[in-house]
Each structure stands twice: as structure tokens, then as C-alpha cells.
């Protein structure tokens, strides 16, 4: 098992370039677990992404916040299903409050999203 990891010759920013091309969050999550350098690479790749889609994923608000915080170059964010899944999740407090409050929250998010040219 003395084979060298040729891929180690790639600097983190090139690893990040590769990870940006990965479209599945599962694959991204697996990449994070490979080694520390790859964890850095995934983090950087999130920052570089222009689109981030949570469509179909059931996210909790911690993970969503963490991902969105890293993706500061975002131009497009598919928030619709995220919000829906947050509604369903037990960890999201607003679902317990009256719908009116939730609507205000939702409209606020839409406003923020439109201001920074992110599509909902």
C-alpha cells in the first residue's frame, strides 16, 4: 500500500474547483469525510458556488445556516423546498407559531432574496 496519493499534488483551490462540479450533496458530504484537506476544499467550493439548490433535501436550520453562510458568492438559491422542509422539521420554531407570523417571516426572506438577486 505504498502508492502515493497523486491527488495530494493539487492545491486546495483546485480541489475546490473539482468540488464545485459535484452536484449531489451526498457526494459533497462524503468528500468532506475523506481527509482534512478535502474538508477545507468542500468549504471553499461552497463559497465559490453561484447556485445552491436544496431541492428535495430535508434540512435542519443549523445545517442550512452553515451551508448558506459558507456560500457567500451565491447568486441563486432555491429556497422554496428548503422552507417547506423547515416547516415540516421539528427544529423549526416558526411552524409552531401562528401562520401570520410565518408569512411575515417568509415575505422578509423573499425581500432579502430579491434584493440580492437570488431566485426563490
Amino acid at each position: 500500500m505504498g502508492e502515493e496519493a497523486e491527488i495530494d499534488r493539487l492545491p486546495i483551490d483546485l480541489l475546490a474547483h473539482i468540488f464545485v462540479l459535484i452536484t449531489s450533496f451526498t457526494d459533497l458530504a462524503q468528500a468532506r469525510s475523506v481527509c482534512k484537506k478535502w474538508k477545507q476544499g468542500v468549504k471553499q467550493s461552497l463559497a465559490r458556488r453561484e447556485t445552491l439548490s436544496f431541492a428535495g433535501w430535508k434540512m435542519d436550520d443549523d445545517s442550512t445556516a452553515r451551508l448558506v453562510r459558507h456560500a457567500y458568492n451565491l447568486k441563486e438559491l432555491d429556497m422554496y423546498t428548503t422552507l417547506l422542509s423547515l416547516l415540516i422539521s421539528d427544529t423549526f420554531p416558526f411552524s409552531k407559531l401562528c401562520p401570520f407570523v410565518f408569512l411575515i417571516y417568509y415575505e422578509f426572506v423573499r425581500m432579502v432574496v430579491n434584493t440580492v438577486k437570488i431566485s426563490v
Binding site: A5, E6, L14, T26, A31, K36
Partner: protein, 179 residues
């Protein structure tokens, strides 16, 4: 695995009286490659060197070996030619037949060992050739599809430098990605 530098120069000589401007690229191991300037300018790095008027005799590329450089030139030539023949091949997408001919060529182009693949990534990055960089990086990304971390490590011979505690924490953070 002899170098194919001669094959690179050949097609230029076949051109008619058109005096296509040439430029010479020199690899890290001292081999010179004469190419059409327009082909060389597929590389933004080389394009800037030429435009800045710094390409007197040869452009030295100390970060690229001859083996890799000849492949890169092959890529640039192919893609330059394809760009030149801008036929309306859009219609071919609607017919069930085939893929864009360049896609097939590209797929064959990246069927190389890992060492060469990473050399190509590094060269494409250094020479700033977006198409080649995206192609090679996508190839690596595809090698990771659907694999567990251990399988990825085995594919690329990567050493796991997480402690068991760190690994458990990363797995916990990843929970959201799995149903």
C-alpha cells in the same frame, strides 16, 4: 511513449500560402513545440504573454513537461478547429443519434492514468485554459460519484488524517445529507 512533437508541427506546414503566425512553446524539459499563435492563445496565460509583447523567440513553460504540453496542444488544436467550423450542429441534439463529436473526443482524451490527469489539471490551471480545466476536473468529480469516503480514499490512495473523534463529528455534521 516517444514524444509526438513532430506531429504537432505537421498540420501547420500543410496549410496553403496563408502565413499563419506561429509561436514556440518550450516545456520544462527543454523540448520546443511550434504551434499556430491562435491555437496557443486558447491559453489565457500565453495570450497575455503574447499581447504584452514578451514572446520573442520562445515562451518558456517551466511548469509543464513535454508529455503534458503535447497533450495540451492537442486539446487546444482540436477545440480551436471545432470552434472554426461553426456549423449549425445544434440540430444534431434533437436527433437521437449521437453526442456532439467533441464530447466523445473529450471523453477519450481524459482516459488517462491519475498521474497524467492531475498533471493536466495543474497545466490547465497554470495555462488558464478553462475548457480543459473544467473537463479534467469534471472527470475527477465523476470518479467520486456515489462512493463512500473509504472508497474515495482507496481510489486516490488518500490517507485518513482524522482522529476517530473528528471523524465522528464530521459524520454527525453530514447527517442532513442522508435521508
Amino acid at each position: 511513449m516517444a514524444s509526438s512533437s513532430t506531429s504537432v508541427v505537421v498540420s501547420n506546414k500543410e496549410k496553403e500560402n496563408k502565413n499563419t503566425k506561429k509561436v514556440t512553446l518550450k516545456s520544462s524539459d527543454g523540448e520546443s513545440f511550434e504551434v499556430d499563435e491562435s491555437v496557443a492563445m486558447e491559453s489565457q496565460t500565453i495570450k497575455h504573454i503574447i499581447e504584452d509583447g514578451c514572446a520573442n523567440n520562445e515562451i518558456p513553460l517551466p511548469n509543464v513537461t513535454s508529455g503534458i504540453l503535447s497533450r495540451v496542444i492537442e486539446y487546444c488544436k482540436k477545440h480551436k478547429e471545432a470552434a472554426g467550423e461553426s456549423e449549425p450542429s445544434v440540430t444534431s441534439y434533437t436527433s437521437n443519434s449521437t453526442t456532439n463529436p467533441l464530447t466523445e473526443w473529450d471523453t477519450e482524451f481524459v482516459k488517462v492514468d491519475q498521474n497524467t490527469l492531475f498533471d493536466l489539471i495543474l497545466a490547465a490551471n497554470y495555462l488558464d485554459i478553462k475548457g480543459l480545466l473544467d473537463l479534467t476536473c469534471k472527470t475527477v468529480a465523476d470518479m467520486m460519484k456515489g462512493k463512500t469516503p473509504q472508497e474515495i480514499r482507496e481510489t486516490f490512495h488518500i490517507k485518513n488524517d482524522y482522529t476517530p473523534e473528528e471523524e465522528a463529528e464530521v459524520r454527525k455534521e453530514n447527517q442532513w445529507a442522508f435521508e
